[in-house]
C-alpha cells in the first residue's frame, strides 16, 4: 500500500491546488447559465422533489409492514439521493483523467489530483443536498442523536467514490470501453440495491446479490439513520469498509502497474 500512501501524500501537498481545481470544476458545470451556481443543486433537488410529489402526494403509495417507513416517496428519496451522488462521483471520477489529458501532458502534476477534484466537486453538490434532506426529515421522523452518523457515512461514501473512481479512471485510460460498461452497470445497479424496495422484500436466497453493490451498505445506513433514527448497524460499516479495502488493494496494483505510462495513454 506504499504507493497509495504516496499518492495520498501528493494529494495532501497539493491541497490548495485541489481546492482551486474543485471550485473551478463546480463553476464549469454551470458556466454561461443565467442561474449559475443554482443549477448543479437544482437538478438533483428537482428529481427527488418529483419522487416525493408523485409517490407521496399524488398517489400516496405505502410500503409493506416490514419496511423502515410507510411512505414510498420518503423511502425512495433517502436511498436515491446518495445513489445519484455515487453515480455522479464515480462517473466523473472515471472520466477525470481522460478529460484532463491535455493538462497532464503539459503540466507536471500528479494525476490523482484530477480524480480527486471530480469526486470532491460532486460531493460539494450532493453533500449539502443530503444534509438538506436530513433537515427536511426531522419533522416527520424526529431528531435523534443518530443523525450524527450522517457525517461518517458521507465521508465513507466519498472515500469509496475516490478509490473506485481512480481505479476506473486508470482502467478507462487503458481501454475506453470501460467507461461504456460502467455507465451500463451504474444504470442497472439501482435494482441491485435496497433503494427502490426494502431489503426485506427481496427473496431470502437472493439477498446476497445486493451486497455486490458497494452502495448497499451505505444506503441502508442512511435509511436507518434518517427513517428510523437508529445508529447504522455493524453490517453497514463492515460491508462498506470491506469494499473500500478491497478496492484500495486493486487500486494500489493498478497505480503501481500504470504510473510511469499513465499520461501516455491519455
Amino acid at each position: 500500500m506504499n504507493i497509495l500512501w504516496s499518492e495520498a501524500r501528493a494529494l495532501w501537498r497539493a491541497r490548495t491546488l485541489v481546492w482551486v481545481l474543485t471550485r473551478r470544476e463546480v463553476a464549469s458545470r454551470h458556466s454561461g447559465t443565467a442561474l449559475g451556481i443554482v443549477w448543479p443543486y437544482l437538478q438533483p433537488l428537482l428529481t427527488v422533489a418529483a419522487y416525493y410529489l408523485v409517490f407521496d402526494v399524488v398517489f400516496g403509495m405505502r410500503l409493506g409492514e416490514q419496511a423502515p417507513t410507510r411512505a414510498v416517496g420518503a423511502y425512495l428519496v433517502v436511498g436515491a439521493l446518495p445513489w445519484m451522488a455515487f453515480c455522479d462521483a464515480v462517473q466523473r471520477g472515471m472520466t477525470s483523467l481522460i478529460d484532463a489529458g491535455s493538462l497532464l501532458h503539459k503540466n507536471p502534476l500528479p494525476p490523482v489530483l484530477f480524480t480527486s477534484r471530480s469526486v470532491l466537486a460532486s460531493f460539494s453538490i450532493y453533500g449539502p443536498l443530503l444534509l438538506l434532506v436530513a433537515v427536511a426529515y426531522i419533522p416527520a421522523h424526529g431528531l435523534k442523536p443518530a443523525i450524527l452518523a450522517l457525517l461518517p457515512l458521507l465521508l465513507l461514501q466519498m472515500l469509496l467514490c475516490m478509490v473506485l473512481g481512480y481505479a476506473l479512471a486508470i482502467l478507462a485510460a487503458a481501454l475506453r470501453d470501460v467507461a461504456q460498461l460502467v455507465g451500463f452497470l451504474l444504470s442497472v445497479g439501482i435494482y441491485l440495491s435496497p433503494i427502490l424496495f426494502p431489503i426485506q422484500l427481496f427473496p431470502q436466497a437472493w439477498r446476497w446479490v445486493l451486497w455486490l453493490n458497494p452502495m448497499t451498505g451505505l444506503v441502508m445506513g442512511y435509511q436507518q439513520v434518517l427513517l428510523q433514527g437508529q445508529w447504522p448497524q455493524w453490517s453497514v460499516w463492515c460491508a462498506t469498509l470491506v469494499w473500500v479495502c478491497a478496492l484500495s488493494v486493486v487500486l494500489n496494483a493498478l497505480v503501481a502497474r500504470s504510473r510511469d505510462q499513465l499520461v501516455d495513454w491519455l
Binding site: A27, K106, P108, I170, R257, S258
Partner: protein, 437 residues
C-alpha cells in the same frame, strides 16, 4: 519520485541547476488497447518496448543556454517532457533545483468558457502561482500580452494568437531557474515574437538556465553556449555549439545524400520551388528573369518581408540548365521592408546546389547596415568581387532579421540556382586566400 524539485539534494553541487543521470525512457507499445487493459489487470508483460531515450546524462549550470538538436524521432520532445516533469523516466534520475518552467504547448490549460483573467488565475495555480502572487503579477502580465479589454471576454472568443500571447505572458511572468522551450518561438505575430525573444534573452542575461529545442540552427547558434545532439535516443555529441552543429550538419547532408541516392535520378530543376511565405512566384521562373519579386499580396501587408532579390549579370537559363553567371563578380541586391522604424538586418547564404554550404553572411555579423530608400524600404547590395569559387552549380538564400538579429522575419530559402564557370580547369570548390613564396 526522483524528479521532484530537491533543493537540498547533496549530489547536486550548488552551481548545477539540472542534473540528468543515466536517464532512459521506455514507451510500452501494446498491439491493441485491449492488450493494455489485460496487462494492467494481470500484470503480465505483453508489450514491445520502444526506448525513446537511453542512458542520457548531462548537467546544466546556472546561466547556461543549451540547444537540443536531432532528427525527428530522436527523442527531443521526450527529453524535454522528462525535464519538465510531465513524464517519468523509466530509469535514472533527474535532479532539479528551483523553479522549472516549460513552454511546451501554450494555452493548454485554458477553459474556453471562462474569461482570460479567470483563466490566468487558474492556469497560474497549475504552475504554482497562488492567488495573491497572481494579483501582484497581473498588471505586468496584462501589459505584456496586450490584450486590454479582451481579458474579460471568454477565451473562446480569442484568436489563436491572443491565446498564445496570454499563455506566454503567464508562464514567463515569474523568472524560472530553468526554462524549457520546445520550438515555441514561432508563435504569434512578428511583433510578439520579438517580445518573446527579448524576454528570453533577458532571462538568460539574469542567470536563467535555458534548454532550447529547435530545428533552426540559426537560433541555436545565436542563443546557445552549448548544444546537445540526440541521435536515436542517445547523446551523440554534447559540447561547443559550433562543433556540434558542424557535426550534425555533416550528418544531415549525408542522410539527405543517401535519401537522394535511393530516389530515381534526374536533373535538378534550375529553380527549386520551396514552401513558405514570401517565396518568389512561379512566373519569375517562366520568363527566366534574374529579378525575383515577392508576390503582390505579401508586399501589401504590413509585416516585414523580403521584397526582391536581384542577381546581376545572370544570363537566361536554357532548358533544364541553371542560368550562368557572366563575369567574375557576384552582385546581389536584396530589398526588404522593415517593421516600423526599426532597422532590419539582411542575411545571405550560398551553397552548392547538391552538396555543402559554402558561406553565410549577415549585416549584423559584419557590422554593416542596410540603407533606407526613399520609399521606406531597406536595401543591401552584397558584392563578391572576383567570386572565389570553382566551376559548379550553386544555390543562394536570402534572410531578413530584426534589429538584434535574433528573430527571423522572412527567408527565401534556396530560391535561386545558378552556374558559375571559373575559366581555369582546376578541380575544387573555393579558392582560398593564399600566398606562394
Amino acid at each position: 519520485m526522483s524528479t521532484k524539485n530537491s533543493p537540498n539534494t547533496p549530489s547536486v553541487v550548488p552551481d548545477t541547476v539540472l542534473s540528468v543521470a543515466g536517464v532512459a525512457k521506455e514507451y510500452k507499445l501494446y498491439p491493441t488497447p485491449r492488450a493494455r487493459l489485460r496487462a494492467l489487470l494481470t500484470g503480465k508483460a505483453t508489450h514491445r518496448s520502444h526506448w525513446a531515450l537511453s542512458d542520457v546524462s548531462f548537467e546544466l549550470r546556472r546561466g547556461e543556454c543549451i540547444g537540443v538538436i536531432g532528427d525527428n524521432g530522436a527523442g527531443k520532445s521526450t527529453l524535454l517532457k522528462l525535464l519538465a516533469g510531465t513524464l517519468q523516466p523509466s530509469h535514472g534520475r533527474i535532479d532539479r533545483v528551483g523553479r522549472v518552467t516549460a513552454i511546451l504547448e501554450l494555452g493548454a490549460g485554458f477553459h474556453p468558457d471562462f474569461s482570460g483573467r479567470d483563466n490566468l488565475y487558474f492556469a497560474g495555480s497549475l504552475i504554482g502561482i497562488n492567488h495573491d502572487e497572481m494579483a501582484r503579477l497581473e498588471p505586468e502580465i496584462i501589459d505584456f500580452c496586450e490584450l486590454g479589454e479582451a481579458l474579460d471576454r471568454p477565451v473562446k472568443t480569442y484568436s489563436s494568437g491572443m491565446t498564445v500571447r496570454l499563455a506566454f505572458a503567464l508562464v514567463t511572468a515569474v523568472q524560472p531557474d530553468v526554462l524549457i522551450i520546445d520550438e515555441a518561438l514561432a508563435v504569434g505575430d512578428q511583433n510578439f515574437q520579438k517580445k518573446c525573444v527579448e524576454r528570453i534573452t533577458a532571462f538568460r542575461n539574469s542567470g536563467c538556465t535555458i534548454l532550447f529545442c529547435s530545428h533552426s540552427p540559426y537560433h541555436i547558434r545565436h542563443l546557445c553556449d552549448r548544444a546537445l545532439w540526440l541521435k536515436g535516443g542517445r547523446v551523440e555529441q554534447f559540447g561547443n555549439t559550433e562543433a556540434v552543429l558542424a557535426a550534425y550538419d555533416v550528418h544531415t547532408r549525408a542522410r539527405e545524400a543517401a535519401a537522394e541516392g535511393d530516389a530515381p535520378g534526374g536533373p535538378v530543376p534550375a529553380v527549386t520551388e520551396g514552401a513558405g511565405a514570401g517565396h518568389p512566384p512561379d512566373g519569375s521562373m517562366a520568363d527566366q528573369s534574374r529579378h525575383f519579386a515577392a508576390p503582390k499580396a505579401a508586399s501589401d501587408g504590413g509585416s516585414a518581408c523580403i521584397l526582391s532579390v536581384d542577381v546581376a549579370h545572370l544570363n537566361d537559363a536554357v532548358g533544364d540548365q541553371p542560368p550562368v553567371l557572366q563575369g567574375h563578380d557576384l552582385v546581389v541586391t536584396i530589398r526588404a521592408r522593415g517593421r516600423g522604424m526599426e532597422r532590419p538586418n539582411i542575411g545571405f547564404m550560398i551553397e552548392q546546389s547538391k552538396g555543402v554550404g559554402i558561406t553565410s553572411l549577415a549585416t549584423h555579423e559584419d557590422g554593416a547596415v542596410p540603407v533606407q530608400l526613399d520609399d521606406g524600404t531597406w536595401q543591401s547590395v552584397l558584392t563578391f568581387p572576383d567570386l572565389p569559387l570553382h566551376s559548379g552549380d550553386y544555390v543562394i538564400s536570402a534572410f531578413l532579421f530584426d534589429e538584434t538579429g535574433l528573430a527571423v522575419y522572412d527567408q527565401w530559402f534556396q530560391f535561386l540556382h545558378f552556374r558559375f564557370i571559373f575559366p581555369k580547369p582546376l578541380p575544387g570548390l573555393v579558392r582560398l586566400p593564399h600566398r606562394w613564396s
